[in-house]
């Protein structure tokens, strides 16, 4: 009984640490978003040092202008890296599920890769690396949230609880929508790391049309008319088309998530947690579209654009967690492979004690 209590409190501690890591990662996404929104990615020219100082000893009095955003991003990233390392070691030491150990290791390797990628983006002066840096950040956030879920009592409850039938079309639609959101985030990261500001600065029309003119004369006219304050690049036809694809994908995602919510409500009942989760997802997507429009209408105000990045990340995570939870609750998952002792190790006790 003492062992059980010990396991239970230990499992709870690990879970809350995983939650903390996921929250820290979310905030890190915001810090990274602010760096790009403020065009401050190259404001600290060296790495891993900062202006010749050891990163952790760089005097706060020198954190001026863009340096503030870039340097705090580096410090926060170091903290997340440290937390992820602890989390990975903790999982190896205390979680009996082999796949969880490797999930923790994957998170660790990703956070290391992410740090190196961010550093190389600065030292190699390669804008395109910023796109991958932004995309891996989203994947890493999904993994930290998944770890938080898998270490929770909720997951033990879901896995050991009665199985329900979640129709395959619904599960497939949610998965496909989540993939679409991920593609949309790639488009968004590509747009942001062109460092060209808004390639279309009107909404809902695009330069007064449903589909904007992308002829060389039109592109020159757009560039001539926009009066940018920050040091952004002139826009190109590719960037104009990219934003149009981003807009179309946003509408497609909205339609898909509405369908998901309707199907979930109809098949699982409006009071089912997955149906509620789908409604929450729909709320996020609506908020995301409002933020996307606001990003344009405020001429890409840094805080609005960063909020757009963050809600995008939450939308991806919500879809991914919905899929995972649905997988756990689905009747199609063999129950034999999910016994408490075999699959959940320490957390089996937690489930047993509930």
């Amino acid at each position: 009984m003492n062992d059980a209590k010990s396991f239970s409190s230990h499992a709870r501690a690990l879970h809350w640490f995983a939650v903390l890591t996921a929250i820290a990662t979310f905030l890190l996404l915001g810090a990274g978003g602010l760096v790009t929104s403020h065009e401050a990615g190259m404001s600290v020219p060296d790495w891993p040092n900062s202006y010749g100082y050891n990163m952790f000893l760089f005097p706060p009095s020198k954190w001026i202008g863009g340096i503030f955003y870039e340097h705090t991003h580096r410090l926060w990233a170091s903290a997340v890296g440290f937390m992820t390392t602890i989390l990975a070691v903790w999982l190896w030491a205390k979680d009996s599920r082999k796949w969880m150990k490797w999930l923790g290791t994957t998170a660790f390797l990703l956070v290391v890769a992410q740090g190196v990628l961010g550093g190389l983006r600065v030292t190699l002066k390669m804008d395109n690396l910023g796109i991958f840096h932004g995309i891996i950040a989203q994947i890493f956030f999904v993994i930290t949230c998944a770890i938080a879920l898998f270490t929770s009592g909720l997951w033990a409850k879901i896995s050991l609880g009665p199985k329900i039938n979640i129709p395959r079309p619904l599960r497939t639609l949610v998965l496909a929508t989540t993939v679409l959101i991920f593609v949309q985030l790639i488009l968004g990261a590509t747009m942001r790391h062109q460092h060209a500001g808004l390639s279309i600065n009107t909404f809902p029309s695009a330069y007064g049309k449903v589909w904007p003119d992308t002829s060389p004369e039109a592109i020159q006219r757009y560039n001539a008319e926009r009066m940018e304050i920050t040091n952004i690049n002139p826009i190109t036809a590719f960037q104009v088309v990219l934003q149009m694809v981003h807009r179309i994908a946003a509408v497609a995602i909205l339609v898909c998530v509405v369908l998901c919510a309707v199907l979930a409500g109809r098949n699982l009942g409006a009071h089912d947690s997955l149906a509620k989760f789908a409604f929450f997802w729909l709320g996020l997507i609506v908020a995301q579209i409002v933020l996307g429009a606001a990003t344009i209408l405020t001429n890409k105000a840094a805080d609005i654009a960063t909020a757009h990045v963050l809600v995008g990340a939450l939308s991806l995570v919500t879809g991914a967690l919905w899929c995972i939870i649905a997988f756990g609750r689905s009747a199609n998952v063999p129950v034999a492979s999910r016994t408490a002792g075999e699959t959940f190790g320490a957390f089996g006790t937690l489930a047993g004690n509930k």
Binding site: H38, E39, A40, G41, M42, S43, V44, P45, D46, Y51, G52, K62, I64, G65, G66, I67, E70, V122, K125, Q220, N223, A224, E225, R226, M227, E228, I229, T230, N231, N233
Partner: protein, 237 residues
Amino acid sequence: MKLLSFAFLIGVLTAASISHAADIIGTVTLTGTPPAEIPIQPLMDDPTCGPLHTETPTTHFYVVGKNGEFADVVVSLKDASGNAITGKSTGASASAVLLDQKGCLYTPQILAIQTGQKVTVRNSDPCIHNVHTTSKGGNPEHNDVQISGGPDLTYTFDKPEMFMKFQCDVHPWMFAWVSIFDSPYYAVSGADGKFVIKNVPPGSYTVVASHRKLGEQTETVQVADKDVTVNFSFSVK
């Protein structure tokens, strides 16, 4: 003796060439009303940069005089076929050009140099800047720290390029655009809209006027031993 004779001959030919060179002069004007310049409010909000100004500075994309005199237009020569003139740079022996960071703004914002010519970047501000060059034309990208009161930084560029950007990422409203030519045949229009391209050898040329926002205009000219006048008129709706 033969060497002396050869040197004398070269000298005479060079002198003859110079005596036949002429200037291309002209005025650039802008018709229409350009978009209003934007106050650089982030500069004023910055605790270090703001106090350096009594009035909020604005962007300087369209520097236009009362009568439409259009400044900051880069005027350069191409050959009669419209190809860039290459291999004529005297940049290595030309004086360095100064690009100053003053009041958290680059001065001047539009600059033209030759390949191999030195650009001296100075920090006259009481704060740190990073000097970040971003090339689209194959020149190296630099990103260097320049502390307040620190030594000048010197750069040279080997490849011709239009409007290569110098920027500061610490203060992201700071930028300058440097055009690089492989010959000395270029000028930047002044506040009166006037430009002079000096000592152009006789021949047929395409004169190109480039504005960072409004693109290019071209005129063909024939240069003999007298100055040639070419005017350009840009327009905005």
